[in-house]
């Protein structure tokens, strides 16, 4: 179980990015974090990934306190961040240098097959489209078999069709080892498509506004009634989160800016 207790983050310049975050994520649960920009979503994932340290509170994975990158925790950033000097398959193999070559090759081949890029194995990243690059980035964390997978708006730069196909690829890989997933998104449809629970965040300081269990059977049909009602509920909570911020001229401007993204 991934547990966040009283987590706060104040950056060196005084920005209060997160304030008293409490969250428990069950094993194999997929949690969708939703909120406008500046809610501290990226900050939260970076803390869990051990890339940054909390100002207060703690993060634990099965009782073990996380303060630095952990082998059981993988992250996919908003950009693919592939290493341009490695071929697609070498990029996927990047985290596997402790694994015996034969097994490494087998795992990489399997992952590439799963994400539909087997025939691109020997290409350079620059020869791939954005969606293909992001698939490689996803394969790169999956081959390391993480228990916790952090995804920071991994599909936000892609068009709707590419995104839909990536959702399928992601779920396909997830089915194999069923890691715990924390998915940051600003797309309500995406959250409802993938997550078991939606968490709505609010900015300044970043905090959890609401949690909504989604409880829709998989595979999910985007046109089914439960799906549509879940989308409406999350939208409602999001609206509410924007409207409950105390109003002041500055707040008002922030709210407008936050409203732009959807």
């Amino acid at each position: 179980m991934l547990n966040l207790a009283h987590l706060s983050k104040v950056y060196a310049d005084g920005t209060r990015a997160l304030s008293d975050i409490n969250l428990a994520v069950r094993e194999s649960e997929i949690v969708g974090l939703i909120g406008g920009s500046g809610c501290g979503k990226t900050t939260l994932l970076r803390l869990i990934a051990g890339l940054d340290t909390a100002s207060q509170g703690q993060i634990s994975l099965d009782g073990e306190i996380i303060t630095e990158p952990h082998p059981a925790i993988g992250i996919v950033f908003q950009e693919p961040r592939l290493l341009p000097w490695l071929t697609v398959s070498d990029n996927v193999a990047f985290g596997l240098d402790q694994v015996a070559p034969a097994e490494r090759a087998a795992r990489v081949a399997h992952a590439l097959d799963k994400i539909g890029l087997a025939e691109h194995a020997t290409r350079w990243p620059r020869d791939l489209s954005g969606g293909q690059q992001q698939r490689v980035a996803i394969a790169r964390v999956f081959v390391a078999n993480p228990k916790v997978l952090l995804l920071d708006e991994p599909f936000s730069a892609l068009d709707a069709f590419t995104r839909a196909s990536l959702h399928e690829h992601l779920l396909g890989l997830w089915e194999e080892t069923r890691p715990t997933v924390v998915l940051v998104t600003h797309d309500v449809q995406e959250a409802v498509t993938l997550a078991d629970r939606a968490i709505v965040m609010q900015p300044k300081p970043g905090r959890i506004f609401d949690e909504l269990p989604l409880g829709i059977a998989r595979p999910r049909d985007r046109s089914s009634l439960p799906f549509e009602s879940a989308v409406r509920r999350v939208m409602g909570a999001l609206d509410h989160s924007l409207n409950t911020v105390q109003t002041s001229p500055q707040r008002e401007r922030d709210r407008e800016a936050a409203g732009l993204w959807w």
Partner: protein, 284 residues
């Protein structure tokens, strides 16, 4: 709705992208005839001058026609004199380049990878860089004598600064986001250097080495003009003193060819290391 059609369109876009990708290395690309356009101007000028001298419109005493320059070159080559000069010059450039580039790489790496060493080293090196390198020559001659050591030292100084600056800059501009990928996969310091920093720095480092090599050739001329008994720079001075512009031009042409060859050699030798980069690099 239109979902199916658009999905199809999307998949064909991906295929189109795949088709547009450059062909795998080793395949022959069609010859670019427009490259030859660049030769047009010098060839016309050379022919025009040759004709002007041939038909008596000009004497060609101060500016000898191409045919006379090549005759001089082949005469120098035939007596073996040319090789004496070429090998003397090349040897100086090589030793100076190796010394200057090594120092530049080591100090550049130190200064690029640690804030403390940068604050310690960089101001001094920047101050030294402000001194025109040739100004060191009298001092080098006092310290190291008039023979090889002082010449090599001057060349090494010339090579050092672009390499130092290039390496420092390359390390400082390594994408922090890629370093973070290394952190997430918990690379040790050594592995981080080998698997992320080194490959990331390589392209810029090679450019720095190339400009270092270029300056090496520039400074070997200066060093040899200021006093040498052999070398292409000596040939220049000798040509001036003997009133032989054809010797001077022959030496200049030899310098141009050597410089270009050395640069191509460096590019060719390092090409496998940066194969992942755009193929445009070869034509830089």
């Amino acid at each position: 709705m239109t979902g199916k059609a658009e999905r199809q369109a999307w998949s064909s876009v991906e295929e189109a992208a795949a088709l547009a990708a450059p062909p795998p290395a080793g395949k022959q690309r069609p010859f670019e005839w427009r490259v030859l356009l660049g030769f047009l101007l010098p060839v016309i000028v050379a022919l025009a001058w040759e004709a002007a001298v041939h038909f008596g419109f000009a004497q060609g005493r101060l500016v000898p026609p191409p045919s006379r320059i090549f005759a001089t070159l082949s005469a120098l080559a035939a007596t073996g004199e040319l090789w004496t000069h070429v090998s003397a010059t090349l040897w100086r450039v090589l030793v100076g380049f190796v010394l200057g580039a090594s120092a530049g790489i080591v100090l550049g790496a130190l200064s690029g990878s640690s804030e403390t060493t940068r604050r310690l080293l960089d101001p001094t090196l920047q101050a030294l860089r402000a001194i025109p390198s040739i100004a060191w020559v009298p001092l080098f001659i006092l310290w190291l004598g008039i023979f090889e050591a002082s010449k090599v030292a001057l060349i090494a100084i010339g090579v050092f600064f672009p390499v130092y600056l290039g390496i420092t800059g390359a390390i400082l501009s390594v994408d922090r986001k890629l370093v973070e990928v290394g952190r997430v996969f918990r690379l040790s310091r050594l592995k981080m250097a080998r698997r992320i920093l080194l490959p990331a720095v390589l392209p810029e480092a090679l450019i720095a080495l190339r400009s270092g090599l270029g300056l090496g050739f520039m400074f070997v001329v200066a060093a040899e003009i200021m006093g040498a008994s052999e070398g292409l720079g000596y040939l220049l001075v000798d040509g001036q003193q003997m009133g032989r512009p054809d010797h001077i031009l022959a030496a200049i042409i030899a310098f141009a060819i050597l410089g270009k060859l050395a640069d191509s050699l460096l590019v060719g030798a390092t090409k496998p290391l940066v194969r992942w980069q755009d193929t445009a690099r070869g034509t830089l």
